[in-house]
């Protein structure tokens, strides 16, 4: 990977939930829009599992537009003419922040020697970044999916740091089904002979395993109706079935394309570490088993958004959080939006989401 992301090294070792600390943790980040002189207009955007800091600028490896370019930019719902938007690569990831592909003090990549991290560890890294940037209090923290978990974790553990908390298509805990799908992906990676106990750096990478992991996960990001509408039983560039195991169906071809494309931009070990962090996430467990206690005396305003076709983090999960916030007496808004795209709706063209995001952030 030949690119130089903007990054900084945290001055202090980063304490980790699993014990110990990560020394010289590196956080890669991008910013958009001017920081106001009183530093009051900063919005922290938290990315999802396979996301990165390139929220509204061209991805250096794929050359594709930023992952939320439709939401973030001049005149967009999160308006960079008004707000200073910060998006950082989470620790454990592979776009410039410390992760399993980073070089350990002994000069070799960490690989599986990288400590197992949690969502709260990621957020601790983000708080370290805010400290380094001199941003005491965020105008808002915003995240979808795993980004929403980070936003919730920030609100629960650093309640003074954000005035507004916007959580889209997310959850306060990973369900058995969520964990099961992640375990499927991890096993696919670890079953790839090129994985070699994670020590594949410098040699062949476990692309086949990572691609299968991505394919399985990608299905969970879509809806049955969305898949049917997009592909149905249509065949891929052929008049009839081949009676073989090529990608006869368009949906197969699409998934293979998603899988192979992913291997070019993502590190398989990072996928293991980040999915683990998500599986370990249970915000109530961190707070004595009570989600309401996690938000006790929070001074922030909250907004939660779910999508009716999202079966990965369904509306009930958002309602569960809303219930806890009500019990904690926090000001909270919640809306279930109708969109056909499943979990991925938060990244796609849903005009109602734009209006909610703009309204809440302002």
């Amino acid at each position: 990977m030949t690119f130089e992301p903007q990054s900084l090294t945290l001055p202090d070792p980063l304490p980790l939930d699993g014990g110990g600390a990560l020394a010289d943790a590196r956080i890669a980040f991008e910013t958009y829009g001017e920081l106001a002189p009183d530093r009051s207009n900063a919005i922290l955007l938290c990315h999802a599992l396979t996301g990165d800091q390139y929220v509204a600028s061209t991805h250096p490896l794929t050359g594709k537009p930023g992952w939320w370019q439709r939401m973030v930019g001049p005149g967009k719902p999160i308006d960079t003419d008004r707000y200073h938007v910060i998006c950082a690569n989470v620790i454990g990831s592979c776009l410039g922040s410390s992760g399993p592909a980073s070089i350990a003090p002994d000069g070799a990549p960490y690989a599986m020697r990288f400590p197992v991290i949690t969502i709260r560890d990621m957020v601790r890294g983000l708080v370290g970044l805010l400290d380094a940037l001199g941003i005491e209090r965020l105008h808002a923290v915003v995240g979808g999916s795993m980004g929403g978990m980070q936003a919730l974790s920030l609100a629960a553990n650093w309640p003074e740091r954000a005035e507004r908390v916007l959580v889209i298509a997310s959850t306060s805990r990973h369900s058995a089904q969520n964990i099961a799908f992640h375990e499927l992906g991890r096993q696919a990676i670890m079953a790839d002979p090129d994985w070699r106990q994670g020590g594949y750096y410098g040699g062949d990478t476990p692309d086949n395993g990572l691609a299968v992991a991505r394919m399985a996960a990608h299905i969970t990001y879509l809806s049955e109706d969305g898949l049917t509408a997009k592909f149905g039983r249509n065949l891929q560039d052929r008049p009839e079935k081949s009676f073989g195991f090529d990608a006869d169906f368009q949906v197969e071809s699409y998934l293979r394309y998603q899988g192979s494309g992913f291997t070019r931009r993502f590190d398989a070990n990072s996928y293991l570490y980040i999915t683990r962090a998500m599986d370990y996430f249970d915000l109530a467990e961190e707070h004595g088993g009570s989600l309401a206690r996690a938000f006790k005396d929070t001074p922030a305003r909250f907004c939660l958004v779910s999508f009716d076709s999202d079966w990965l983090y369904p509306t009930a999960e958002s309602r569960h959080i809303v219930h806890a916030l009500n019990a904690a007496g926090a000001p909270v808004s919640f809306v279930e939006l109708s969109a056909p795209f499943g979990h991925d709706s938060f990244l796609l063209d849903v005009p109602a989401l734009d209006r909610v995001v703009k309204g809440f952030v302002e």
């Binding site: 009500n326 808004s333 919640f334 809306v335 109602a352 909610v356 703009k358 309204g359 809440f360």
Partner: protein, 193 residues
């Protein structure tokens, strides 16, 4: 802004700076009026498009069903719980009233009065379920599944041990007095404690 008369009556009674829960808040008209009085006001609304408009106006509104979701709120978490034009749509208005009085120290309830003379006349002379300016929807389309009269509501409040602190009655947009309210009022607002 032109506030609906029952909402204006409620907004006029709420003390500045109060904590208010607006159940069935619609597009947030009452919430905005109360926010101008420095109230800490929250809403519940079942219609997603209304919730979206409220959020876009900077209001804290949760999409949900008051029949089910009121139970989530702690006791006495609000100074006032407001139920405007919603009681008659509840699956169990009696239970909703209990929840209202549990969640709020005081409660405002507004509803269309089914004993208004126009409704009575429509039923008596027409022999059909009334479609009037206060109740403009046919029986098979209406959300009003539990029609209620001023007299019925007083009975319910009494049965629930609630004190009636105030009553306001309207004919159309116009406030009218208490006399013969069960016959003359199209809409009623009650304050309970």
């Amino acid at each position: 802004m032109n506030l609906r008369p029952d909402l204006a009556a409620i907004a006029g009674q709420v003390a500045p700076g109060s904590r208010v829960l607006d159940i069935g808040c619609g597009d947030g008209a009452l919430m905005l009026a109360l926010r101008d009085k420095q109230c800490d006001v929250r809403g519940i609304e079942i219609d997603g498009a209304c919730v979206e408009r409220c959020v876009a106006r900077g209001l804290s509104v949760v999409q949900g069903d008051a029949d089910r979701d009121l139970a989530d709120y702690p006791d006495a978490s609000f100074d006032y719980a407001v139920l405007s034009q919603t009681l008659q749509t509840a699956a169990r208005p009696d239970r909703m009233l209990e929840q209202l009085l549990r969640v709020g120290t005081r409660a405002f309830v507004s509803f269309p009065n089914f004993a208004h003379w126009r409704t009575r006349a429509a039923l008596m002379f027409g022999g059909r379920m009334p479609v009037t300016r206060a109740l403009p929807v046919t029986w098979y389309e209406t959300a009003n599944i539990h029609h209620v009269t001023v007299a019925d509501f007083r009975d319910l409040a009494w049965a629930k041990g609630a004190q009636i602190k105030g009553e306001w009655f309207f004919s159309g947009e116009r406030p009218i007095g208490d006399a013969g309210a069960n016959l003359r009022a199209e809409f009623a607002v009650f304050e309970l404690a």
